[in-house]
Every structure is written in C-alpha cells, then in structure tokens.
Symmetry: C2
Subunit: 582 residues, 2 copies
C-alpha cells in the first residue's frame, strides 16, 4: 500500500479524525486537514487525493492542493492568510505537541494563538455520530510475538533507567498493543484497541475501557499490570505531573508523536519528548516475527494466485465484473487462509484510469467494470496472527501497448534495484530511495509517493519510524537488521493507467566479501510471493542480472506457493505459466 | 581532487589559516581546528588526515579524530569539556557569523562565551611570518568569462531590488574575482586576490591593496567601480551600518559564509545573512565558460597522456623516480599548454600505501620511489584562462592482484553510474551520491569522502554550493544545468593502496522520451579526457552497458586528444593502446 504523504501521527484517533473530516467535508480520503473560518471552509490534501477531493467536495469548500507551487501548507495558511490576532481552536488530542509548538512559533508573526478546546466542535453538531467501537481485546500468544510482554517491559525500563526518567507515557495504539502483546479490532484494518499506557520503574498501567477486557486478558497480563478505566487517563496524568520533582531533574518521557493534550495534562516543563523507544523496539522484528512474516506471505501468495487465475478466467469468458466485486472475491480467498484476521487495508482494485488514482478504493455502489484491454492494478493485504501482508501487482489481460510495457519494465527495474540493494549499517531509506527511481528517470518518468513504508507484525500496515522515500524524516532512521519495509515503486499516467509492483522485504545482515569500516552490511529478503506479469515486460530493457533475478524470483514463488494449491488446478496451471522463465 | 570534509568557509583566509595551524602545531593538512587551553593543545581533523596528523604532531598535542564515535567536534568540545564560565578567544575574521552564533548557543549551557580578538594570538608569537602576498591583479577577457562585469553587477542589483536590500557585502575572494572578471595569484593554486567588495544600487566598491591594481585593471573596471584601499573596508562597513535605517527595514545582505568581523562591524540587527546570490550565479557556467571547460580539458588530456606514457617508459626501463620528481614532470608537460596559468592544487602523486592517504602530497625532500608493482594514484589539475581541470587516474605498471582489479572495477562502476545519471530538476547531489557507492557496497567496500565537488571556472578548484556527497548541506542545492562537478568515487586500503577515478562533468539538459511532472530532466556531460586503465578492470563484473560506456569513452578520448600529440609518438602510441576497445 502506498505510503501516505504525512505521518499518521495519531493512529489512536486517525479513524475518528477521518470520520470527522468526512462528516464535515464529504471528502473521505485518508489524509487531509480541514480549516473552517467564520466565512470559508478549506480542505488541504496532497497529490494522491486531488482527483478524489475535487469529486467529493461541494461548492462550500475550497480545495488546497498541498505540494503544488504557491499553495501554502495548512500551517502556513494559518500564519499567513488569517487576520492578525486570530484565535484558532484546535482539539489537543488531534495534534502532536511538536506540531503545536512549531505552529505556535509561526503564528507569532500575526500575534495569533492556538486555543485547546475541551470538546471538538464537529462533535457538537454531529448528532447521530456512531458510538466509538469497544470490541474485545485478546492476547497474542508468544509463539507469534516471539517475546513476552514481561521481557518487553523489562527492555523499556532499562531504557528509562538510562536517564533516568520517572515514567513513560504511551499514546500510540500500536505501541500499547505491541508492548502488552494484546490485539483488538476497534479501528478497521488495524488490530489495535483504544488505550493508553504508563510505565514507571515499579508499575505498568493500562488505561482501557474495562468492558473490552476479560479474564483471559487479565490472566495474560498478570498482577504486575494494573488495568485502569480509559477515562481515568488524563486525571492520572495530572497527578503524575504533580509527582514529578523538578528539582532532581526527573522527567516523564513521551514519544515524539504524543498529543498536545498529554503535554498539557502533565505540564510541558515536566516532560521530555523523544523518539519513542517502543517504536524503535517494535520496528525491529525478532526471529519469530520474521518467520511469521515468511509463512503468512506464502499463504497470502496462494490466495493471490487463486484470485488472479480466477479473474483472468472471468475476463476471458466475458463476465462483467466490477472492481469491488473482484476485490470481494480476493477477500473470500484470503478469508479461507489459516490464521487470517481480516484485511490490512481496503483493497485497491482498479482498472485503467482508476489505477492512476494512487489511493483509489472502489465504491461498491459506483465503480468501474474491469476492462480486459486496460491495465488492472491490485494493491491488497491481510492481517494474520503471524504477520501482516501488503502486496501490489499490475496486470494486463489483453494486449498491452509499448508505452505500458516500457513503463512497467522501468518500475520493475526500480523494484529490483531495491530488492538487490546492499548497503552499510547507518544507511537510511532516504539515501536509497533514488535507486528505485533511477530507471524511471532515465525515461523522464517518476512517481509522487514514497518507495516503501514500515510494516507492523499483525499490527498497522504502515508503521514507522523507518521507510524508503523522499521525506527527509526517513533520513533520521537507519535501516537495521530485522526491520520490515515495503518496496513499491510505481508510475501513474493520469486518466489512463497506473503501475505499481510491491513486495514486503525484511532487512537482514548481508555476507559481503569485505567489511570496510567494520560497519556490517545489510540486504533485503523479500517475503511476498506473487508472480510479476511477464506480458508487461519489455525484455530488451533488462540487464542479464535483472533477467536472472526475475527468473529466480518466479522459481521461488512457484516452489513455495504451489504446494498450497493442490485443490485448485486452475490456479496451479496459471501459476506454472506465470512463473516460467522469461 | 577529493572534497574536504568541511566547507572552506573562508577562502580569503584559508591559506593564512592553514599557515597559522601549521606554524603552531606542525600539522600541515588542509583541514583542521586547533584549540589551545592554558594547559593543553588539541588538533581536530577528519579521517583523511588521521595518518598524517599522527606523524606530524609532537607530544604537546592531542589528536582529536573527528567523525569517530565518542570523539566530540571541536564545537562540542568547547561546550562540554571546558570548565564553566570559560572565555574563548577567537579571531572573528576566521569564523563565519553563522558558526559563531550556533557556537554561542551551545556554550550557554556552561555560561561560557566567545571573545572576538582584535589580533590573532598566533601572530603575536610568530616573529618571522612571511608578508601577505600582493601580486598583480589582471582582467579576465570576456571571451573567456562570457559575461561582462557590468552585466554581472546588473544581475546582482536585480537580486538586491527583490527585497530591496541597501547593499551586498562580498567577502568570498572567488566571488569578488568572478563578479569583476578579475584574477590574481595571492593564494597558491587559486587565481584570486585579497579583496572585499560592496555593491549598492548606485555604487560598486572594490577594496584591494592599491599597489596590486594597475591602469589595465582600472580601464577594465571603468569609472562606475570605485577602487578603495583594502584597509578602509572595516571602517567603511562601520559607516555603512550607521547609514542603514532600521525603521524602513532596509538591511545589508551578506552571504552565509561571511565572517563574524563583518557582522560586528555593520551590526547584527542591520544584516540579513543568506545563501550568497553570487555563489549561485557563479555556480552556473555560461556557454562560453562551458566551451572553455571542454577546450582546456582536451589540452589537459594531452599533457596527461604525455606524462603517463613517459612514466610507463621510465618504470619499464628501471629508472628510479620518486613521487615528487614524477609530479614535476607532469607540471612540465602542463606548463607547455596554451592558456596555462599554473596548477589548480598540489599534485597528488602517490605509490602504493601513499595512495591510501587521501590528501597525500609528496614531500620533495622525503617521498617514496614509485614502484612498478604497486598501484600508482595521480590526482592533479591546472588553471587555464578558459577553465580549471581536476583529474584522477589510477595505474598499475606491473601485475595487479585480483583484489586490486575487483576494487578498481567497483570504483569504475560507481564512476559510470554518476556519469550516466539522468534525474529531474530539483534533485540534489546528496540524493545521487549513493549511486556511486552501490557497486562498492555490494562488495562491502566504501570510501570516506564525497563523490564530487563544484569546480570554478579559472577559479577555485573546489567551489560551492553544489556537490555530490553525504554532507547534508549538499541536500540544500539542486543540481542545475550549467553546474560543474567532479565525479570521483574511490577505494582506499589503508597501508596498501588507493584507487580513485575522477572526471569533471557539467550538468546539462537531458532529452528524455517523457517529461513527467514538467520538471525537465538533467544529465552529465564529461569533459575530462584521459584513459581509464583497462589492465585494472575485471571485465566479468561489468554489464554490457558499462562495457559499451568504457569503449565509447575511450574512442572519444582518442578522437579528441590524439590531434594534439603529433610531436610525441610515444604518447600517441600509448594513447592508442590504452583507448582500444576492452
């Protein structure tokens, strides 16, 4: 799945945030900011969503196309376009403390100020808002997580001792879930639950709606973890702030994505904001998680094979299928797999021009019929107890044009450049991003999204802090052995077609003939197993090494996936054909 | 020539700075900082100079190896290792205002302060210091510069009008030389002269030792440029500061490499510090300068050919030649070339282990005999009226080992990766640096210097702001059509050998089949013409495209350089052999 242009700062509220934005504006993309003034209403979103937002916004709204020349960011807009002495209401649970701080600084020029609201104004007018989900929380067995929550808490406390800090406040939902080896289903696609946690040297407190927690969870957590009602979190923080003794320099540690409300509750001067050590722990998968990634991708590959073989047959026989119906079929195949726990995001099933809408998702009530003579782009993924998948394949079931083949081949060359990368420890995804673009640039082509995002282990399909892309933030996190990341270069011809080839890769130690600088060198191991469409390849562009890579990859796919296809002869025949040497 | 690890902030004083450092410490490398406390003396330098500094420093000195883990920068050292309330004397002409500002900030923790000295303390004790050079200044004809100084001043004033600024103060010697189309010889290898300039909307003032300026220069400059004595510069600035009216927000513009003394003379609140617009103008060569670069590199290629052919013959016949004697011969060949105006830096002529000392220069009184059975690395360049050259070639006149061939081939592949790069406008040298390293990383190899530096036009061989490298500063300057940059990946096996392959390339518009994003795409045109040693290539590692590149390059070298070798049959035969297809 393509990486968003902004961090999902606040995964705990991202869903709520999206819902509110969609409610007030009509735009339901996954990234955007709404500014409502006394006279006007503005929606800021990025290149992935220009087309979608133009369709969905009515005349009350002005679309602000972030990233285009002369279009301010929403922060610049507040500090430059609003009148002097503006008071700007903001929900402090929906902005990071860091962003609020830099925004306050830029507002100084106009002597304007942010005002933290106790209640979100959208909620005031949203009468029939559905209640917040409160689904059962469940433990993730250590046979899947690879490390007990007791050991994770021990590692975190060692981190607290370094300074020492009095406590760490954990507000990212995936960090809470990872830390306690718990999962939930409060947010679509992300197996997390609404919660906060506070870890001190002696105590671990989990703030969660107690109706979501049963005895199985209590037994799993054990006595040392105290379960507290969700609503007691902010009152507790205010008490914690009172406990912190400023004289001995003890501070409360919070991650750099903590929201403004947490900072205001504890008191800014009692807080140290840092990269979350839990995010850094979580990013590096242990050997159990890595093996889980491998295994769930083999199963996922079987479902993909069954789906693409089925789809080809449908189109060849002239069946009229729309994009959403096709996506449902893919979900059906996936749902039959062992350890399946739902999709990891809305399937992008797109024909022709829809493939160029980078974050397209077909509306079941109004989407296109898949055309045999158009490129079909499918970006999809699933949650399994042993891992998370995210894979994009691009097909042409008719006769592709030379332009389509050339662009596809350039994307493939970029994909191979990342897959075969070897680089020293200390290298960031920012540094190697251009390796994926080089073959496209050669033809004057490019893509307006990142090359890869981190992937959670049975957690959010997008997770930080690592990634491969042009965002300078990626230059702050070196790729390390055990990290997962997607490899998904693409090319999009507006109004005509989209191409993307995406595998998940795991960073591993590389065995190089030398070890200059004693840094140790790293490589990627791909775990995604689905054929790459040979019909779309212009073989004359490939080097001998690229051609060998493709044939070896296909042999591996066939070898690992075919044993799972014994009961589907159509799929097996299709896989054998697609995996034959180029 | 390899790029230094720090900017040469103050080219006007870099020579004086180096001399003072060498005088006080004994270390004569081109980069380093000295800190002398009441008890101790420290020299901070980077990886290129660890070996050299260890040799040259005596027991009074502690070598601080910048870049190694746990070794502070000299700035960190001042703010962390010195006692509280330290007063740190500093020569304000030898530190940029920006560096002084950030240093002051970091010193706050210890309540320490910088103190600007009127006299440099080294000068107090340096009794027999040679006088500052004051050589004749001369005009550079517009047939070489391609743009009159009147037109350059006009462009600069258009820039001043944008804000508007009251004036610009120019303190970089190469910017003064470029702006007025003047050259000098006050600093070895850099055809500049000691001067400052101030440009207002109505006046252009050139502060220069008037004994260096004759009527030819006065006629060239014309009446609108006022020549003022060098020593009147700081008094003039103090008056200029008084003229600036703070109420109407008029400010004096100074480049971001301006020194602290200038800021103190005008007054910090009357100054705007920005990237120098002159540096940005100068970085983009006009078509006359570009053609000059091409032409001088053809001539330079002829001298290189004559030299390498001669050297090979000497070694084959058993002549004992030391590195310095060989370098002198190269200078002799160069000095016979049209428009030659001296070397552009000290020739690096190094055999075996000396090649691994990245900034090695042979001491005529004590250097090694060139060994036929060792790798020989030669990095050299010249100043011509029509351009500046800088080229590195690596040879083996005996039988190279497999290790040497493999490493050389990896360096060559990195060199080709840059030479053949195509990238959209907006791309920086920081982004493409890793393209040069990828083939080396594959073998677990790397090099501890940048891949390329900007090159002046009959000016400093290192010039900013562009460059290709891992310094984050390079990420602030997009590569633009007309910029010159070196392409010089390398590999260094400490104590054994060094490899580097360096060409100068010019950024040019590329004709790509598409133009995604309407950005326009760029490529490099190489101007350096000297064969790349086939004997050191392991052809089995090359792709078909790399092999074709090499053969095409050699055909181009032979075609362009051989017409200049009519009187040197040895050189012509050698060139024909070295340029034959792989």
């Amino acid at each position: 799945m393509v990486i968003p242009s902004e961090d999902q700062h606040m995964s705990e509220y991202i869903a709520a945030c999206d819902e509110r934005r969609a409610y007030i504006s009509g735009f339901n993309g996954s990234a955007g900011t709404v500014i409502v003034t006394l006279k006007d209403a503005f929606l800021f979103t990025d290149g992935r969503y220009f087309l979608q937002a133009e369709k969905q916004l009515d005349s009350n709204w002005t679309l602000m196309k972030s990233g285009l020349p002369d279009v301010p960011t929403w922060q610049e807009f507040l500090s430059k376009n609003l009148e002097k002495h503006s008071r700007i209401g903001i929900d402090p649970t929906l902005i990071t403390a860091a962003d609020a701080e830099s925004l306050e600084t830029s507002l100084k020029a106009k002597e304007s100020h942010l005002v933290s609201l106790t209640d979100n104004l959208v909620d005031f007018i949203w009468e029939d808002r559905p209640p917040r989900p409160a689904n059962k929380v469940f433990p993730l067995d250590v046979k899947y997580s690879g490390e007990s929550h007791q050991d994770k808490l021990k590692r975190l406390r060692e981190e607290l001792n370094k300074k020492p800090y009095k406590a760490m406040v954990v507000n990212m939902l995936d960090e809470v879930a990872w830390l306690f080896n718990l999962r939930g289903s409060d947010i679509d696609f992300n197996p997390v639950f609404f919660a906060y946690a506070v870890v001190t040297h002696d105590n671990s407190l989990l703030f969660v709606n107690t109706s979501q927690v049963d005895d199985v969870v209590r037994t799993h957590l054990g006595d040392p973890v105290q379960i507290k009602p969700y609503d007691e979190f902010f009152p507790y923080l205010r008490g914690l702030g009172g406990e912190v003794d400023l004289s001995d320099e003890l501070q409360v540690l919070v991650g750099d994505k903590c929201n403004l409300a947490i900072v205001e509750a504890i008191g800014r001067e009692r807080i140290t904001i840092l990269r979350s050590p839990i995010a850094d722990f979580k990013a590096i998968k242990n050997e159990t998680e890595i093996e889980g990634f491998r295994q769930c991708h083999i199963r996922d590959g079987a479902a993909l094979t069954r789906y693409f073989a089925w789809l080809e047959e449908q189109l060849n026989s002239g069946t009229q299928l729309n994009e959403s119906q096709a996506a449902d079929k893919l979900e059906e195949f996936r749902s039959e797999l062992d350890l399946f726990r739902g999709l990891s995001f809305t399937t992008i099933s797109s024909t022709g021009p829809n493939g160029a809408v980078i974050h397209y998702s077909p509306d079941p009530a109004d989407c296109s019929i898949i055309q045999k003579e158009q490129i079909y782009l499918c970006d999809s993924g699933a949650q399994f107890l042993d891992g998370t998948t995210d894979v994009t394949r691009t097909w042409h079931f008719g006769n592709p044009t030379d332009e389509e083949k050339r662009a596809f081949t350039r994307v493939l060359q970029g994909h191979i450049a990342i897959d075969t990368a070897i680089f020293p420890n200390g290298t960031t995804g920012y540094i190697i991003d251009s390796w994926a673009r080089r073959p496209l640039w050669e033809d004057g082509l490019d893509y307006r999204h990142g090359t890869g995002h981190g992937v959670g282990h049975f957690l959010n399909v997008h997770e930080g802090p690592q990634g491969i892309g042009v965002r300078i933030a990626y230059n702050s996190t070196a790729l390390k052995s055990g990290m997962t990341v997607s490899n998904e270069p693409g090319y999009y011809a507006d109004g005509r077609f989209g191409i993307r080839i995406e595998n998940i890769v795991i960073v591993r130690d590389a065995q190089t003939p030398n070890n200059f600088g004693n840094k140790g060198y790293l490589k990627f191991e791909h775990v995604t197993l689905s054929p790459i469409h040979k019909k779309l390849i212009d073989a004359s562009l490939l080097t001998a090494a690229e051609r060998s890579w493709l044939d070896a990859y296909h042999a591996e796919v066939l070898d690992k996936v075919s044993p799972l296809l014994k009961n589907d002869t159509r799929a097996l025949a299709w896989l054998e054909r697609e995996c034959s040497p180029l």
